[in-house]
């Protein structure tokens, strides 16, 4: 199993390398410093969301509220900043809100027994509706210049936004591999009854993983706000699907107990590379999604095929 997990990531890594070689040959602009930084900025948000998603998927759960929570955070933060709130305070507030939204998902799923798909689908529309209510459906302007500056700033030669992704991946990998909570996440995904009979408090694990997800949607929303430099109530649409796709590309199984933060990182990298490359090669942007869809099916199919063979 250890080997198989490794293989999934190696396949994905090879796909990334192949894509990069292809794009480097096809476009002289692709491997420039500024384009790579561009890729990093594009990838930061999607990567953070994919990492949150993979942890939920490992428990055999799902969260569809991602994009709406990103939008909710974006609008709330923009409103507060436009009204001259202190930036750290405003960020703290939106992170508390998004984490609470995740916690509510966990409560609805565990205590009310609503399937994760339905519970978070409901939260998706509730959060989107709240966003539209708060914003009145229109964009929010007047955010401080420093916000936009942050999005384009670098730290140690790497875009500041990307650092958030690096930290998120490292922390998530440590949680999944080195902590009790991480082991419980896998155990819940593999067999909830066995986990319960081993004395694991499934309620806390469920709360924890959805709240952690909510926190990361909040981080994604804050990063999104710095990139947009305004509040856009329709932002984030479809982000949950990108996050799920990245997690699954990275070896996560929707049946639970499989997946890793690093895998989700590579999954996001594949998707962003395709989007970036399509722009550089002047491919009709509508093709991008088709290509991502095809690659998703192909990679997962190869993986399933290989697993089946290794079982026989």
């Amino acid at each position: 199993m250890k080997k198989i997990k490794l293989n999934t990531q190696i396949i994905l890594f090879l796909v990334v390398v192949a894509l990069w070689i292809f794009l480097a040959v096809s476009s002289e602009y692709f491997l420039t410093y500024s384009n790579i930084k561009n890729i990093m900025r594009q990838m930061a948000i999607q990567g953070v969301l994919a990492v949150g998603m993979v942890m939920i998927i490992i428990t055999a759960g799902i969260d569809l509220s991602v994009g709406s929570v990103v939008a909710l955070v974006n609008i709330m933060l923009s409103k507060m900043l436009a009204n001259h709130f202190s930036i750290p305070l405003a960020i703290l507030i939106v992170l508390i809100v998004s984490t609470s939204v995740g916690l509510i998902n966990g409560i609805v799923i565990y205590d009310f027994g609503v399937p994760a798909f339905i519970a978070t689908l409901a939260m998706m529309t509730i959060a989107r509706g709240t966003t539209l209510l708060i914003s009145g459906g229109s964009n929010v302007f007047g955010l401080p210049r420093s916000i936009a500056n942050f999005a384009s700033s670098d730290f140690l030669g790497i875009p500041s936004l990307f650092w958030f992704l690096i930290i998120t991946v490292i922390v998530a990998e440590i949680i999944l591999r080195k902590t009790r909570f991480g082991k419980y996440i896998y155990a819940l995904g593999s067999n909830p009854e066995a986990a319960r009979l081993s004395g694991i408090n499934l309620r806390l694990v469920t709360y924890g993983v959805y709240a952690l997800g909510g926190f990361l949607w909040g981080v994604g929303g804050v990063l999104e706000t710095t990139r947009l430099w305004m509040g856009v109530p329709t932002t984030g649409t479809g982000y949950e699907l990108d996050a799920i796709a990245a997690a699954v590309l990275g070896g996560a199984s929707l049946f639970g107990a499989e997946g890793s933060a690093l895998g989700a990182f590579f999954g996001a990298l594949v998707m962003i590379t395709i989007y970036n490359g399509a722009v550089l090669l002047n491919i009709n942007p509508f093709w991008q999604r088709i290509i991502v869809g095809i690659i998703l099916v192909v990679i997962v199919a190869i993986d399933q095929f290989r697993k089946k063979r290794s079982k026989d």
Binding site: M1, T179, A257
Partner: protein, 504 residues
């Protein structure tokens, strides 16, 4: 060459890894005959039925149905021949209507559109044969029916396809006595119309009411066939028992202090259960499937709620409301269904062994990987778990080794009271003996074991005493000196009222 037999099975053998489920068995059934198929749990009754219905294929032997040799029996062929079965756990689709359930695989249709009126009409006809057409509405959804009426629907389904041979597998376990009477009436109707019936039941008194013959299996082998008039309950029980274990694993042990006392525990499935376990004791818990054994195990371990009753550990009253409290009181449960309850199959040997103790071996949430690894290695070695390394996922291990992983996890958690629910189920002979040795070793070191099993010889082989459960109650507590298979089985089977038992 026509003869009177509806079914003839000749020389049927079936082997499963670790068990010879059936050994050269001959079975025949005449037209219009009602034959009881009896034997202890695991005697091979279900295997025989499954071979007849095509769910399993026999390793050896020949199957004749209506004097026609069937080369390869499949569920489809068996159905075409008019063989149908009513199982104890009803296989109905709860969200569909009664009529739809009765005709599920042969809905009357035109160009794939189901013709509702003819469906209802046909369902009514079938229900009428059972005289239930005025009681059960064919349009009702099955989930809205009482369990007993669901049983009637299952029977209706079985006879709807013009069945020539009907198998009833523990049909009365869900029925009330009134409905059991109804069932018997239905069976005699079927018999009159020359349908042949195989009737499986643990309730011997029923067999005497409706069967012509009793056919006894033991350890996968044919024992005897008796005309029902020429026998009695006690005689049949004596034919069912008498299985032998190759080796006796009993060693005499020091009995220590009382470590677990369960007083008057009740819930939906348990009617007032009390028992005691002492240090150094292996206590058997025998009972038929459905007698409440598993429910009692789960209730003691805090996995299921109890409505009333007290549990004392080491003489102190404890409120075990969840599994975590149970574990911290040094209780452990090796569940009946290893794959679905005992193990996280996709996780490694190391992680499964450490699952109950991650709490103990981590600081601020961070796991001490060194301890984690050492613990896993220690128990892999101690229990001789055969795995290439501790990072292998447990789904790749054999049944016996998987079971050892479950035991290892409770050894790691420092448990002192082990509740083992069918621990040797589905493991091969070698691994079984290893598990018995582990149990002896544990008891020798002062642990107490409650050993639940359907296989009486293994209980008699290793236990200091055996408790018997029947219908949610502990009905007997039999010390080693008084072991007697017939007596134990009688306690488990008979529906008579029992005196309060002192199960200490």
């Amino acid at each position: 060459m026509l003869n009177e037999y509806a079914i003839q099975l000749k020389g049927i053998s079936k082997y499963f890894p670790g068990v010879q489920a059936l050994k050269n068995v001959n079975f025949s059934l005449k037209f219009g005959e009602v034959k009881a198929l009896i034997g202890e749990n695991g005697a091979g009754k279900s295997t025989l039925i499954k071979i007849l219905t095509g769910a399993y294929s026999a390793d050896e032997g020949e199957i004749y149905v209506f004097n026609q040799k069937i080369e390869k029996m499949t569920p489809i062929i068996s159905e075409k021949l008019g063989i149908s079965a009513v199982y104890q756990n009803l296989v109905l689709a709860p969200h569909l209507t009664v009529a739809e359930n009765i005709f599920l695989n042969k809905l009357p249709s035109k160009w794939s559109f189901v013709s509702k009126s003819s469906l209802i009409k046909k369902a009514k006809e079938v229900l009428k044969r059972l005289e239930y057409h005025e009681i059960i509405d064919p349009n009702e959804k099955v989930k809205n029916l009482s369990v007993a009426h669901q049983g009637i629907v299952a029977i209706a389904r079985a006879i709807s396809k013009n069945a020539k041979i009907v198998i009833f597998d523990e049909p009365t376990s869900v029925l009330t006595s009134k409905e059991t009477e109804e069932l018997f009436r239905i069976i005699s109707e079927l018999k009159k119309s020359n349908v042949s019936i195989i009737y499986i039941s643990h309730r011997l008194e029923e067999i005497f009411e409706i069967c012509d013959k009793a056919y006894v299996l033991k350890d996968g082998e044919f024992v005897i066939e008796k005309d029902i008039e020429d026998t009695n309950e006690d005689e049949l029980i004596s034919y069912m028992v008498g299985r032998k274990l190759k080796r006796n694993f009993y060693i005499s042990r020091e009995k220590g202090k009382e470590i677990l006392r369960v007083e008057n525990v009740k819930n939906k499935k348990l009617k007032d259960c009390s028992l005691s376990l002492f240090e150094g004791e292996i206590v058997g818990l025998y009972g038929l499937v459905g007698s409440g054994r598993t429910e009692l195990a789960r209730a003691i371990f805090g996995a299921d709620k109890i409505d009333s009753g007290k549990i004392y550990i080491g003489g102190k009253l404890k409120y075990i409301s969840n599994t975590l409290t149970a574990i911290s009181n040094r209780l452990s449960l090796i569940p009946e269904d290893r794959r679905n309850q005992g193990l996280a199959l996709k996780l490694s040997v190391k992680e499964n062994i450490n699952l109950p103790i991650y709490r103990k071996i981590s600081k601020l949430g961070f796991i001490n990987s060194k301890v984690e690894k050492e613990t896993a290695l220690e128990y892999v070695k101690k229990l001789d778990i055969k795995t290439p390394d501790i990072y292998k996922t447990v789904q790749n291990l054999s049944g016996g080794n998987q079971q050892k992983v479950v035991i290892a996890k409770w050894l790691a958690s420092n448990a002192k009271i082990f509740i083992m629910d069918e621990p040797t189920n589905g493991v091969d002979v070698g691994a079984k003996e290893e598990i018995y040795s582990i149990m002896n070793e544990l008891a020798k070191n002062g642990a107490a074991i409650l050993f639940i099993s359907s296989y009486m010889p293994e209980l008699m082989g290793i236990c200091d005493r055996i408790l018997v459960m029947n219908s949610g109650k502990i009905v007997a507590n039999i010390p080693r000196e008084e072991y007697d298979e017939e007596k134990i089985l009688a306690y488990a089977i008979k529906t008579a009222k029992f005196e309060e038992v002192d199960s200490k």
